[in-house]
Each structure stands twice: as structure tokens, then as C-alpha cells.
Symmetry: C2
Subunit: 136 residues, 2 copies
Amino acid sequence: MSRFEIQAIGVIRSALVELEEAPRQGDEGGYEAWLEFSPEVAQALVGIQVGDALIVLTWLHQAQRDVLQVHPRGRLDAALMGVFATRSPDRPNPIGLHEVSVLEIDGQRLRVAPLEAIDGTPIVDLKPVLKAVESR
Amino acid sequence: MSRFEIQAIGVIRSALVELEEAPRQGDEGGYEAWLEFSPEVAQALVGIQVGDALIVLTWLHQAQRDVLQVHPRGRLDAALMGVFATRSPDRPNPIGLHEVSVLEIDGQRLRVAPLEAIDGTPIVDLKPVLKAVESR
């Protein structure tokens, strides 16, 4: 199959630094975090406003890419399930999807919540939630 | 910034073959399509059922990666907007998000709808829509 090169466009800055402390999803106790974008992509942020609902796409750099099945939500008594039927970070291409709201904009930095990804996680894309941007 | 290698895990097979014919979003006249997965990731599909709501992540291989601003929805009378504030396929990392329902399962192939991506588009990840899988 084909291979492609993906490049980080920014990084997550969060008080959440240990993977073990991370909630499984942002709405299960997600933190506020800053999305810090590279100057090279600053022009791509134009039009984003406080209150916007966005989807942050991350590269879950600590994930295991050779895992194809997991016990859902880490429960060892549950049957093994394919990672594509779960939100496990361990998967062939560990892309994380995080739906957040924009709380503050400071140049190339966006303060958002809730976000369960740990400090240092690379950002690879940012998109509006479709319902909120029918006119875009 | 860091670079990562992303690998196609499958491909979209659709009657939609020309980019010019593609609707902008799946719910604007999206097609039925088959998701054909590589045998190497077959185990990762275990647990997916007909009727499931899934998010297909694709690599929009015909996108332009050096575009940072666009006229929203191609309307030249609209002000330029950063691609991160739009769903433009042209963006630094052209990852497509497509919310679909599973209509049929045939081995390593899933028939889904609606899907606006063209025939031959590489698939890079597959996840459940969160609302539907609280127990996973």
C-alpha cells in the first residue's frame, strides 16, 4: 500500500504530561490546552473565532502501531475487538480526533477545551465541525 | 517540525471517479462506496457491524498541500479564509474525515454511504462515531 509523509503543523501545550493521567475522551474530564501552531501555517488560521467548534487532528506519537485488537477501554474481561471498532490510540496510523471549543486566540496560539491529549502531542490538521460552518 | 510516515490501510472503490463530480460533503449527494481494506489489517475490523456509524479517515491524494487560504466553497466573491477554518481538501496534511453508515460487510470490504471521496482514494484510519459506542 502507498505511504505518505505527514508533517506536524503545531504542538499541544497542556498541564497533562503523563499518558497514565489522560482521560480516555475529552468529555471525560478533559483539560484546557494551548494549540501552538508553526509560523509557516499562520495564514491557515485566518477566520477562526472564539467560540468556534473545531476538530483537532493529532499524531498520537506514543501509540503502538502494530496493535490490531484491544480489550475495549482496557477492560480485560471484555472480548478482544478490532481497533477500527474502537477509539484506541494504538492502531496502524495513530491519528487522534478531538472536538474542542476555542476559548482564546493569541496570535498563532489557540486556547481550547476539552482536550485529553498530552503535552507535546504533534498537531497535524485542524477543521471546523461541519454543523457550525454551513456557510464556509 | 516533526515528520511521520502514514501508510494506506485500504482504498475507496466508488462509481465517483472524477474530482469535478464530487460533492463537497457526503450529505450533499454522497455516493455509496466500498471500503476495501488490506489483508494485513483485517483483524482490526473485528467488531464492526452493519448499521454502525463510522468516521473514515482518508488521504486526499489529489489535494494541493501548499495552499493555506481559499475562497470558502469556491465562491470567488467571498473573502479568503484560512484552510483550517474550512473543510477545503487543499491543506498542509490533506486528511479527509467522512462520517458514514455501514450497509454491508463482505470479508475485508465494507459497503458504506454517504461518501463523497473519489475512487482510488487511500484510507488511512477508521473509527467509530463516539456517540454510538459509549460501551467501547
